[in-house]
Amino acid sequence: MKKITLAAMAATFLLGSSMLAMAEVKSLRGDLPLDAKAKPPHKARVMSKSGGYKRAWKLQPPLIPHKIDKERISLDENSCFRCHAPDTYKAEKAPMISKSHFKDPEHPSDKNFIRRRWFCYQCHVPQVEAKPLVENVFGQ
């Protein structure tokens, strides 16, 4: 008798909690029917900031303070090197790629660039005008 009561209680609990969970489950699309148009997501603009962003921590890869939608990185070509390479940064008044990215740090040139670092956006990213979803207390 005890067992039956326990089983019944467990069943009620499970049913109740699963119903509760079902009520909470919501499609990423929202409650919209499939044939209705969803509201397009907010488009955030990439920010430009002269002087660049401060690093948030000591070894942070510096953030990109400009748009990069016209830049191209492929096997043969890396358009970041137009301005940030050792032989062009002075003329372009751009910060040079860190010496740590070259096989011979004291004599940096396009030729001894470490190819492992070729895809700049893997570490260096631009910033968009977006409100943080949660408060960020990092570093405070």
Binding site: S50, D76, A91, K93
Partner: protein, 200 residues
């Protein structure tokens, strides 16, 4: 007396007739010539060759000159064929060399194209440098550039470049197409790269 008058009349008719025929023929020939030249002066003609379609055009579709927020486009001839008539005709005559290489199959594969693209790019850079980037300036006229609306760094560099008498192609290489492998060395070798002293 009357005979003389009749002779004069025939003469007059002959002259005016010839002149009229000349004008009509002139309009047809001149118009036809320009019409034929315009036929070879649009994007669909350019990409009727697979050399153009599979290589340079493919890359161009990835550029803001092909697609952008306001839909203003620059097609192949806007950048690669001069607008002033005489330069246009000269360029069209030079294009016969391109026809020759098309039929010889000089760049009929992707590999051949990649092998030659450095040389081809240098041709265009040299032409642009020699004409003071005339084709760029058809749309991008520095006189009407509002530096206030440019980003700080761009405005700074543009003003400086104009003061130094630099031209668009000095910095803006590989705008609509990808840059060839080793493009910096190529540009430096041909004196087409802005130096630090120029930029300082």
């Amino acid at each position: 007396m009357s005979e003389g008058n009749a002779g004069k009349g025939i003469w007059k008719k002959l002259v005016s007739g010839t002149m009229l025929a000349g004008i009509v023929l002139g309009v047809i020939l001149w118009g036809g010539f320009n019409w034929a030249m315009e036929l070879t002066n649009n994007e669909s003609f350019c990409i009727s060759c697979h050399e153009m379609k599979d290589n340079v055009y493919e890359e161009y579709t990835d550029s803001p000159h092909y697609m952008n927020r306001s839909g203003v486009r620059a097609t192949c001839p806007d950048c690669h064929v001069p607008r002033p008539w005489i330069y246009k005709v000269i360029r069209k005559i030079q294009a016969s060399n391109e026809l020759y290489h098309h039929f010889m199959g000089t760049i009929d594969t992707r590999e051949k194209f990649l092998k030659h693209r450095g040389e081809l790019a240098v041709h265009v850079w040299k032409t642009m440098k020699a004409t003071n980037s005339r084709e760029c300036r058809n749309c991008h006229d520095q006189t009407y550039m509002d530096f206030e609306k440019q980003e700080e760094r761009a405005a700074d560099r543009h003003e400086e470049a104009f003061d130094k008498g630099m031209t668009c192609i000095d910095c803006h290489k590989g705008i609509a197409h990808q840059l060839p492998k080793g493009w910096k060395e190529l540009a430096k070798k041909n004196g087409l790269m802005p130096t630090a002293s120029e930029g300082e």
